[in-house]
Subunit: 383 residues, 2 copies
């Protein structure tokens, strides 16, 4: 096995200790460089934590999104999540990024719930998918999207408005492309094989450029979009790619709801979350206190530090100071975990409060009663 | 090339001089034998022309349909047509068979217009498909279905009511099966590859046995239905298979709207139709009058006689007498064509009158306003 093959990233499977520079090369995307970052923050009127820390690290055509924004043409956002279980910290990050961009640039957001794709790709029935979706929707609502500028839809519910347009997308994708890009084979069912048409369609919901915040592992879908968009007279979709949130148990692969030790769930109580961090978070510190004081921690594999740096601590000077002290042995693993535990506890407490108090009402608005939702239910998608 | 390979029948392509006994063996269906025929006519209360003449010649589980009918469980009918052009005589036969069964057994009929499949399988856009569908629908209405017990639907319109159930069908069909049964390959688009799920779904519209009158070339679809129906707790679909209406120009393959000389269109005036018969109908008679008087006609390749025998002349004695006299040279090709021309002219005149006078109103009822249509628009298909 060559070094290039030692990790595998397809839309259905992310494993191994991911080398992000290799992913940029593999997928042919671009690193977000300092000048683009600066321009993005200037247009937004504020710095973004994830991009500042290079957690959002790669893109396609972000500069064109900013061109469109600056010259008044505007753009819109599209993201989604397959309801296959309760959500964890890793699931919510792309939504937070999306919500942040919506707020700063005042644009519409479309969020797809591909319940059909989950049914086709996993051994799970629609009743379970429905149950997960109900809970996931409230988590997403708690992120704080503008309920009049956000449309959330389940594919099996909204299909009547999408199908004819999706059939035109499907006509442009043959089995060979689907197989090469998604790894579909003879054992793949004809539903999953059809699904790329539906995942692409929302990039044509408005006649503006679509910006998709997503994991870099989703890139193959959007490469097909970029091939076919010009055939319909639409703009190629732009993307910003986030890194994977490392599993609590170590920097190998992603968190998984089905492996409870690897993840902090959005439903974990602040105390449970703190306990998980203390007990499970993979440490880059040394085994003994003496060795640690002498040699310090390896920040690159320390999950608590990585979460703090990438996701939870806005203050640049503070997080760098912590990093420096941890790296040279002044600070101990327990202290880092303590700091993260506090931050994470605050986040969860606030998230759960919003979900509980406003979740149902916001979901109703984003799906059916808000301004954008009403507009979407009143029309059929044209292509 | 072996003899078995000298004709090819897939759902998209019927060519060559078809050997129906070989098709029965190839597809593993059953010939409709005299006792089954008798039982069918007895339950119907009347003889059916097409079955009497063995134009409807093959079946699957027709005896189970009659069991269900006789013991009061009932059954329902399903058929369809892809709107890809104006309709000809060959298109309307399966609808007439379906209407006859509806009338005699008093059952519901579902008629699918797979506009999506036509879009995926042919180089034609939705505007053209829509135009053809509008005309085709009125032709079907003119056949005389009970507008309160018939539901006609375009897939792109009714999809919102079918999609979730269709996704469950799709999950049971993998690319390998789709490829083996339909000849799909790497160049097939992912839409057409998905379509079998939608063509199968209406066989589950009622929790009774579904009976499908169709060309035997459509059998592969229904074999998949028969594999998966038990997994959903439904009955396997039954079928009655008609032969292909031979092209005017000869008994090789089917009529085609895109080859005007091969077909009598439902929109041809009675005079045009008579002229076509006289000029184009492939004759089994001999070249010279003298030779014909001596040797007689070959009925098996004589299109005018075949049409008369299979489709237009109810009177057994009369049609057999004509056959005998034509075969022994007493009657000439021109006389046979004259008799067919009259029958065909009457049929077209009456068809066109009904289409003109009642077409719009009946289409509206069968699609939206009739009792069955209203019921179907009020629910989502469950599976």
């Amino acid at each position: 096995m060559t070094e290039e093959e030692s990790f595998e990233v397809t839309p259905w499977d992310v494993e191994g200790n991911v080398d992000y520079q290799k992913l940029i090369e593999k997928f042919g995307t671009k690193r977000i460089n300092p000048s683009l970052k600066k321009r993005f923050f200037k247009d937004a009127g504020e710095e973004n934590l994830y991009m500042k820390r290079d957690f959002v690290f790669s893109h396609r055509d972000l500069e064109k999104v900013l061109d469109d924004y600056e010259n008044g043409e505007g753009f819109f956002l599209y993201t989604g999540v397959g309801p296959s279980g309760p959500m964890h910290i890793g699931h919510i990050i792309a939504f937070q990024m999306t919500q942040w961009i919506q707020e700063k640039f005042d644009v519409n957001v479309y969020i797809q719930f591909p319940d059909d794709e989950k049914f086709w790709s996993r051994d799970v029935d629609y009743d379970d998918i429905e149950k997960f979706a109900e809970d996931n929707l409230k988590d997403i609502a708690a992120v704080g999207f503008d309920p009049d500028k956000t449309f959330v839809f389940k594919n099996t519910e909204y299909i009547g408005h999408m199908y004819k347009a999706a059939s035109k997308v499907a006509e442009k994708i043959n089995n060979s492309v689907a197989s090469a890009v998604f790894g579909f084979d003879s054992s793949t069912n004809i539903g999953l094989n059809f699904y790329p048409a539906l995942q692409l369609l929302p990039t044509f919901f408005e006649d503006k450029r679509c910006l998709i915040p997503a994991g870099i592992d989703q890139d193959p879908y959007w490469r097909i979009q970029r091939d076919i968009a010009p055939k319909f007279g639409y703009k190629k979709a732009a993307q910003v790619h986030n890194k994977f949130v490392p599993a609590l148990t170590g920097p190998e692969g992603k968190m998984s709801s089905s492996k409870p030790k690897t993840a902090v769930m959005l439903s974990d109580s602040p105390e449970e979350a703190k306990d998980k961090i203390l007990q499970e978070a993979y440490s880059g510190g040394k085994q003994s206190k003496e060795e640690h004081r002498e040699k310090g921690a390896d920040l690159s594999v320390d999950v608590a530090y990585q979460w703090l740096y990438n996701l939870f601590m806005q203050d640049d000077e503070r997080v760098e100071e912590i990093g420096r002290k941890y790296e040279n042995g002044e600070m101990l693993t327990g202290e880092i975990k303590q700091i993260l535990g506090e931050k994470l506890g605050e986040f969860l407490k606030e998230h759960q409060r919003r979900k509980e108090e406003k979740g149902d009402e916001l979901v109703e608005k984003m799906m059916y009663e808000g301004n954008l939702a009403k507009k979407m239910w009143d029309k059929k998608i044209q292509l």
